[in-house]
């Protein structure tokens, strides 16, 4: 393959408004970083793939260009338009196309797709700028792909039949002053020596000094002969112009004169009252003439401003076109979806959407009325107004925002309102491609913003809806608005093929997106700059530092007043005492959403004292600390800082409270920094209580320092009972003593069981596993377990009598068994992680996720959670996963959870589609007959200009096979139509149908 003939492919920059998309992407990146929302990451990955694929589509569309040819008359006049026949083999069928023909660096033809016919021919008007013989030309095909965002150009150098470009024949030369600077040797240089080189000898002239006399020649010839000297300068033509600006005619004559001078090798100088300029070549002459006329007649001579060059914004390729109504309406719909999504995040109802939709519709109306597609209308006043208002408002917001809570308040308060207002106002300004793309980009930013704020389960659907609409908007923006009959036909003819191609491309893009996402980890939380915290006018706790129920009343010690059972958040584990025999009906209400990279126990309280039936919280209230930023001190057993052996990592969780909860502050162990809009009591047992109850709408963020616990790490700490006995630290001994206390009611068989199960030489970790295994094998989980009789030991009752119980009893048993073996243990209550929403990446915690588990103290790693009933991985084992992996998991689990429904739905859709098609076919066949249907299919394959069947067949001349089949088909169809002796023969029909199919 001759690569030079095929030309080079290279990017030629972006289309108008593409920059807006790229900027929007980066704004989205900032939002993702700020909020740590997986949904924004998903959006960004899809956007990245979309932008990349539009660039690829642009690159691919120029691949079809095979060859190009230009035919023009053999002799043309310079700067005079001549008609030439340009034909390009394989002109791209999608998107905008600009064809430039260059002679040297000068552009002689520029035309767009509208000039070309189906076969890729165009009659163009060429303007040759320089006289001479042109035998090769560069033809540049610059095209965008279908989405029209990026330009790619392909330059082909073609040999043409030589074209002689003659100078303007009737252009009389301007008046020139010709001067030859060839001196005769009389001029002297500074040093008194004669200037110039000796060039020969000549006779003496009047007035020449004796220094130049060539004596030997003079003596020989007996006349005075002198040196002839010449300087190196040449003849100069000076063209005097009366003023800086000239008219067309003068410019033409000026060009002619200058070309002539340059052709003869003279120096051409143009003298105007203001300046003198030397023209060295024809390009300079043209440039000068163009400037003097004041018209950009030679655009390639006017270099674009530096920023344009730097950004490679080749906007001059753009084909101005009116806005496509479909695209504009789809754009407005995308804006509406974006705003709807944001309103949902802010908690506004659909009522607000009405006026907004009206505003957007106004924008559409104004765009369709005033959107001319040309640059003639520039609503700069509107732009300045909108711009000033926007930046002013942003500046106001920036000045009023202070601190962390201020930022979050701004993100939820004035910022989104401003963004929505900007979008609606900007809708009025959408008049061309650029503004429309900017509009779409703003909508994209709003979507990213909303995806970052929203934590509910519908984010995925919103995103999908927006993506579909925006793809329609972008894809239709470059289509031909008023198609000709042939365009329509061409579109119809390729529509089937294109549909299949589009589906394949969309599938490929989807796969690439998933592939990209599968290496993007789930964001590990919001940036430290904007840890969200928000209080929501919650009732204050009646007694500071004490537990308070959701209504704010003290939930003190009396069992009947601790958080009302049966209510959301009324789990007994969030009161001062935990009766192991009570659980209550918790329901499936959503309690909170937790944005975190990995699952963990969301711990609320810990219990130390156990009397055989009831666990109690230690009465100390701890220290009051005022938010929003609260450093949580390390408590007993929680390691204050990582050591070389123990690795910790930062684990950020943001809690979005969805139901009214008591004032228990949940956190994954071990909380380090708490961002809370209010004040918090940090208690010695590691739990926290706030001064207000956590009611619906509250938000706070916890940064935990998690120990990277692995089984090996636990195993290596050996038997804690032994280690503990060896610890030579009375203070620690004393403080850990409560965690070893056994209730008096503990029965001997409980102790025996604990002792029997433990094997000599076991590490504590192995002991725990053995206990868990025994519990798993010998007891059952049952929410309706029988209540132990009064006065009996709950653990004994559970282990040996009922052997049925719920998490509190199971956890209590494990704790008692461990304590009996000298291992410090306690009970923690809180929530298990809950289900992760795969799109928004948040954990959705339900009331029934309330849980109690055991925490065991390890000397090196501190309190570690163990749970015989729920499986939550160790921090060191937890795999943050990737956004893509989550999506695939969601899809698989979605299909797996309802295979029958999904199968039925797909089947139903297929059935409906099939029924509609077959009914349409039946109607058509009934009306047209079976040969009529064949005829229609054949007609649809060929351009409408082919009216009869033989003419249709003639359009298939590209391959002999198709031509033969088409000819046969044409004959059969004509016989069916006109031959009186025709009998409808099944065999013949079959062969005709096969031929139609073979032509597709």
């Amino acid at each position: 393959m001759d690569l030079t003939a095929l030309g080079r492919l290279r990017p030629a920059g972006s289309s108008v408004g593409t920059f807006a998309f790229v900027s929007a992407w980066f704004v989205g990146l900032a939002i993702a970083r700020l909020t740590g929302a997986a949904a924004v990451v998903l959006l960004l990955a899809a956007g990245f793939v979309a932008l990349a694929s539009t660039a690829l589509s642009s690159l691919l569309s120029t691949r079809s260009v095979a060859s190009a040819q230009l035919r023009a008359a053999g002799t043309v006049d310079v700067d005079t338009p001549v008609t030439a026949d340009l034909s390009i083999d394989g002109l791209p069928t999608n998107g905008d196309v600009v064809v430039r023909i260059l002679s040297g660096d000068a552009e002689i033809v520029r035309c767009d797709r509208s000039g070309f016919d189906d076969a890729g021919h165009a009659d163009v008007s060429a303007l040759f700028p320089t006289p001479g013989i042109v035998s090769d030309l560069s033809i540049e095909v610059i095209t965008t792909g279908a989405p029209g965002l990026f330009w790619t150009r392909r330059r082909l150098t073609v040999d043409i039949d030589p074209i002689a470009v003659a100078p303007v024949p009737d252009g009389p030369m301007l008046e020139i002053t010709a001067a030859t600077s060839r001196d005769a040797g009389e001029r002297s240089a500074a040093g008194g020596r004669t200037a110039g080189d000796v060039d020969g000898v000549r006779p003496w002239r009047e007035g020449e000094g004796d220094s130049s006399v060539h004596w030997s020649s003079s003596l020989r010839s007996r006349t005075l002969i002198v040196h002839d000297r010449a300087s190196s300068s040449e003849e100069r033509w000076t063209i005097a112009l009366p003023s800086e600006t000239i008219d067309e005619a003068t410019a033409s004559r000026l060009l002619f004169t200058a070309f002539e001078g340059i052709r003869l090798g003279h120096e051409v100088a143009i003298v105007t009252p203001a300046s003198t300029r030397i023209l060295h070549d024809t390009t300079e002459a043209r440039s000068f003439a163009a400037h003097a006329i004041g018209a950009a007649r030679v655009p390639q001579d006017v270099p674009p401003p530096w920023y344009r060059r730097a950004l490679r914004l080749r906007t001059q390729h753009e084909v101005p076109r009116a806005l496509d109504p479909v695209s504009r309406i789809a754009t407005a719909c995308s804006s509406l979806i974006a705003i709807g999504m944001l309103l949902g995040a802010l908690g506004s109802g659909p009522a607000t959407l009405g006026p907004i939709a009206l505003g957007l519709a106004l924008g559409v109306a104004s765009s369709l009325k005033f959107g001319t597609g040309s640059d003639s209308v520039k609503p700069w006043r509107l732009r300045i107004g909108v711009g000033t208002a926007t930046f002013g408002a942003l500046a106001y917001v920036a000045s009023t925002v202070g601190g962390v809570s201020g930022l979050l308040a701004a993100m939820r308060g004035p910022m989104p309102d401003l963004l929505m207002l900007l979008l609606i106002v900007h809708g009025l300004e959408v008049i061309d491609q650029r503004t429309q793309r900017v509009h779409q980009a703003i909508a994209g930013v709003i979507v990213a913003y909303a995806a970052g704020l929203r934590v509910d389960g519908n984010v995925g659907w919103w995103l999908a809806a927006w993506a579909v609409v925006i793809v329609i908007a972008v894809r239709t923006s470059t289509r031909i608005t008023t198609p000709s009959a042939d365009d329509k036909h061409r579109r119809q003819r390729v529509s089937n093929r294109r549909l299949a191609k589009s589906i394949a491309l969309a599938g490929a893009a989807g796969f690439v997106t998933i592939a990209v996402l599968s290496v993007v980890p789930v964001p590990d939380g919001p940036a430290r700059l904007g840890l969200p915290a928000l209080s929501n006018d919650a009732p204050s706790a009646a007694t500071p530092g004490a537990l308070a129920g959701p209504d704010g009343n003290s939930a003190a010690t009396s069992t009947d007043r601790r958080g009302s059972l049966g209510q959301v958040g009324g789990y007994p584990g969030f009161s001062n005492t935990l009766d192991t025999s009570v659980r209550g009906d918790l329901g499936d209400e959503l309690v909170m959403r937790v944005r975190a990279a990995e699952p963990a126990f969301w711990r609320g309280q810990t219990f130390t004292e156990f009397d055989g039936r009831t666990w109690s919280v230690s009465p100390e209230e701890g220290t009051r600390r005022v938010g929003p930023r609260i450093e949580v001190p390390a408590t007993l057993g929680d390691l204050p800082r990582p050591t070389a052996r123990i690795e910790t990592d930062e684990f950020i969780q943001t809690y979005y409270i969805e139901s009214d909860l008591p004032n228990v502050v949940f956190a994954a162990s071990r909380p380090d920094v708490l961002t809370f809009d209010g004040s918090v009591w940090t208690r010695p047992d590691g739990s926290m209580r706030s001064n207000v109850t956590l009611n619906k709408g509250s938000v706070y963020t916890v940064v935990s320092q998690r120990v990277q616990v692995t089984p090996d790490l636990l195993q290596s700490q050996g038997d804690i009972a032994t280690t503990f006995a060896d610890i030579d630290n009375p203070e620690l001994q004393a403080r850990l003593a409560p965690y070893l206390a056994l209730p008096e009611s503990t029965t001997q068989r409980t102790l025996d069981l604990a002792a029997t199960l433990r094997q000599p030489g076991d590490s504590t970790y192995q002991t725990i596993l053995r206990y868990q295994q025994w519990l798993g094998e010998n007891t059952g989980y049952d929410l309706n377990a029988p209540v132990p009789a009064l006065g009996t030991d709950a653990v004994d009752n559970f282990l040996f009598e009922s052997q049925l119980g719920f998490c509190e009893q199971i956890a209590s048993s494990l704790a008692v068994m461990l304590r009996s073996q000298g291992v410090p243990a306690r009970i923690a209550t809180g929530y298990v992680p809950g289900d992760r929403n795969r799109v928004s990446g948040v954990f959705e915690v339900k009331a029934s996720d309330a849980h109690a588990w055991v925490e065991v103290w390890f000397p090196e790693t501190g309190w570690e959670s163990f749970d015989p009933t729920a499986v939550v991985p160790f921090a060191g084992d937890a795999n943050p996963g990737t956004v893509g992996g989550d999506l695939i998991g969601a899809a698989i689990s979605g299909v797996a959870s309802r295979p029958v429904e999904i199968g039925l739905l797909a089947g139903l859709a297929l059935l409906t589609f099939g029924t509609i098609r077959s009914v349409a076919n039946l109607i058509r066949r009934r009306r047209r007959g079976r040969w009529g249907v064949l005829q229609d299919r054949f007609s649809a394959m060929t351009p409408p200009s082919a009216t009869t069947n033989p003419l249709r067949a003639a359009t298939f001349s590209d391959t002999t096979h198709a031509a033969g089949a088409a000819n046969d088909l044409a004959e059969l169809l004509d016989r069916a139509a006109f031959d009186p002796n025709w009998v409808d023969d099944d065999e013949m029909y079959r062969s005709a149908r096969e031929r139609v199919n073979s032509l597709l």
């Binding site: 007959g929 200009s945 009216t947 009869t948 069947n949 139509a977 006109f978 009186p980």
Partner: protein, 318 residues
């Protein structure tokens, strides 16, 4: 006689003509179709592109009598049709009687060169013989030989010394063709003597008169589906409704168009006409019959308008 023999004959005829006429296969097809359809042909073009040669080679390829009339401005009707001349009926020559002496049109193939140089009188003399294939002189009808075909040539109207043919005369011609200049390669062949007039002598009749007559009768039996007749009517109607046309195509035009279409079908070995036959022949068969609103327009404008009308009427299909 069946479709195959008709097609065979037509292809022999076409090949024979094409061996002389360089690079004008489409025109030759129309000419042969006209012959088979018992129509008359008018060849219009600038001088020197082989109008007369085409007429002559058609004549020679058909074995029959052949006459040629050169149109001049002083040509009289009698010079064409023949006239009554006094003739002695006794040996002494005392009694004379007017005897009809047949003119040059009494031949199977008559080539009338430069028809539009003759005065309108003479042009009108052709009206009867082209329509009814007979000549009436002094109330006596003299039938022309069968088959009879008139091939006339004319120069474009802007050439000096021409008289526009009347609408009636033009309407008698089944088809008007414009051969135009031959493509370069064919022109080289003509200059080198491989084609063109030098080859005319080599042309031998490839079709006997008898055979031709039988093919002509076969052609008239080729089936035309009703849909196609409707199509022709729609075409005629389109010419009558077109805003740039003062007078649309005549019914005779439709009849002759169908006749030509039948001939084309037979030439392709079919016993039925298809829409393509009509679409392909509509322009040569109808373009000269429409009278344009702009009186100064040429036949080319007529062709363009006819093409427009053709595009406006969708051909029937199954």
């Amino acid at each position: 006689m069946n479709a195959d023999t008709a097609a065979d004959m037509a292809s022999r005829l076409t090949a024979s003509i094409n061996s002389v006429i360089a690079g004008k296969a489409a025109v030759v097809d129309v000419a042969v179709a006209t012959l088979l359809a018992r129509g008359h042909l008018l060849i219009e073009d600038i001088p020197g592109v082989g109008k007369t040669l085409l007429a002559q080679v058609i004549a020679r390829s058909v074995g029959g009598s052949f006459r040629r009339i050169q149109g001049t401005s002083d040509l009289l009707p009698g010079d064409v049709t023949g006239s009554m001349v006094p003739c002695s009926i006794n040996p002494a020559g005392t009694m004379t009687s007017l005897v009809f002496r047949p003119g040059p049109v009494f031949a199977n193939l008559v080539v009338f060169d430069e028809l539009n140089r003759t005065p309108p009188r003479t042009q009108s003399a052709l009206l009867e013989l082209t329509e009814e294939a007979q000549v009436s002189i002094d109330g006596v009808s003299h039938p022309l030989p069968d088959p009879f075909m008139l091939v006339a040539t004319q120069n474009p109207l802007d050439i000096a010394g021409t008289v526009r043919l009347s609408e009636g005369s033009l309407d008698r011609f089944a088809a008007v063709v414009t051969p135009g200049r031959a493509p370069t390669a064919s022109e080289i062949d003509v200059l080198a003597g491989r084609q063109g007039r030098t080859m005319l002598d080599a042309v031998r009749p490839v079709v006997s008169l008898d055979e031709l007559t039988r093919v002509q009768s076969f052609v008239s039996c080729v089936h035309v589906a009703d849909a196609l007749a409707e199509y022709v009517v729609a075409l005629l109607d389109a010419t009558r409704r077109h805003p740039a046309i003062r007078l649309g195509a005549s019914t005779r035009g439709g009849v002759l168009l169908l006749a030509l279409a039948r001939a084309r079908a037979a030439m392709q070995g079919r016993t039925y006409v298809i829409s393509d036959d009509i679409a392909a022949l509509a322009v040569p068969a109808l373009a000269h019959r429409i009278v344009l609103a702009d009186a100064n327009s040429s036949l080319d404008t007529g062709r363009a308008l006819m093409t427009e009308c053709l595009a406006a009427v969708p051909p029937p299909t199954v």
